[in-house]
Symmetry: C2
Subunit: 232 residues, 2 copies
Amino acid sequence: MVVLTANERHALERLEARERHVRRGATLQRDKDRAAEMFILRKGMMMSSVLLDDGSRQILRFHFAGDMLAVSSLAYRAASETISALSDCVVCPFERPAFAAVITDHPRLAALIMVCDQIERAVLTDRLAVLGRTSAKARVAAILIDLRNRMRMLDRGITMSFTLGLTQEELGDATGLTAVHVNRMLRQLEDEGMIAREAGRVTFTDERALERAANFVDRYAGLDLAWLPAGR
Amino acid sequence: MVVLTANERHALERLEARERHVRRGATLQRDKDRAAEMFILRKGMMMSSVLLDDGSRQILRFHFAGDMLAVSSLAYRAASETISALSDCVVCPFERPAFAAVITDHPRLAALIMVCDQIERAVLTDRLAVLGRTSAKARVAAILIDLRNRMRMLDRGITMSFTLGLTQEELGDATGLTAVHVNRMLRQLEDEGMIAREAGRVTFTDERALERAANFVDRYAGLDLAWLPAGR
DNA sequence: CGTGGTATTGACTTGTGTCAAACTGCGTGG
DNA sequence: CCACGCAGTTTGACACAAGTCAATACCACG
């Protein structure tokens, strides 16, 4: 969609100079911890979440390879969310001054990063509308579609069938439901012929119906990048 | 917190060169409309919302003077949310190329805009957790505190008492509740001595209790801007 | 005065949560 | 290799929070 200049590519590569491995289940950043680092996720799947003081957890977002993590340290001294690994992962840590250098030297990269922020924001607001205004069935349908789409962006081979790699507890924490009720909704979607399941693997058997049930909006379509400044 | 250079101030003033008046109840931008403009809200109170296809509405965010509006046009060809005026407002429209020029010439302003994006994001994720995981009473308490704080940022005279300027229907659309239930929760907060009400005016009579009920986190505290590049 | 939007309250319904029990699959250690 | 335990799933019975519907009251405004 956008062809980077050699200089721009080089600047981004410098951010990814170091590597760190994170085990499945491990925590990369804990809410309220001092946080100076940011990361690029190179491999694996992570999530960010917050814990409320009654002990319940809300999962805010799932992260896949290529995502920038802990961007909120741009603004805050302490982390505002917990980031943990859902599978074995590789991340590339970098410091805020390195980031400042990139956006100073490469205005177009700054603009592109803002575009990514806006996409994230649009996805977040969609989720807000889903949590505030839709039924349990719609929420479960929505998260299934979202996960499939995110995975497909990295592996075009994925079409109707994928392993979601999440427990029903986690699905519940992402959708604002209990694990028990997630289970009931999955069963219902299955009974109504929209999905099939075997051993953690989900197959969409009626994608249209699922999208209708979920109020689905594709936030990675309809982009307009014509306004970007020139590359350096 | 950050002192801008004369050049930076000048660049921002150029964005605010034109003015447009928006009547209470009018719509500045409609969801799915072609959207090339962005705005700075100079005066008044607005909100952005989305309409789901079952007709229900989710209010995503309230905007106050100084906020940048329609920032999602940075990424999208069409608007992803409706922005409408809750009171008579004045906005300053500007085009995306003007924005591109600002971030190209003034890296520190680009960085500051990213910081604001991150604050917005943190606020959004808090709301996500509130909608996903807290009771109706907590949601209503949370929105009252949030509105009071936002208003206080513009008028330090506001402390325990303010006019919220929203119908209970709107409170419901923001919290994911029905207007009827919002009413019941307001009554309950009142009966429990946390707030008092007369004619659209709300007074916090026990702020601590209200904050506890709401799971409140102050997202405008704990900022760290030491990493910003130098001003130009 | 009406009239339309908003607020308030009550009676009833429904969606989702809670609790508990059984079941499954899998890794671990004896 | 088996037995055990643990984490996750599935299902049922029941409780409760929030939604729905409807009637009334309260304004502000033409």
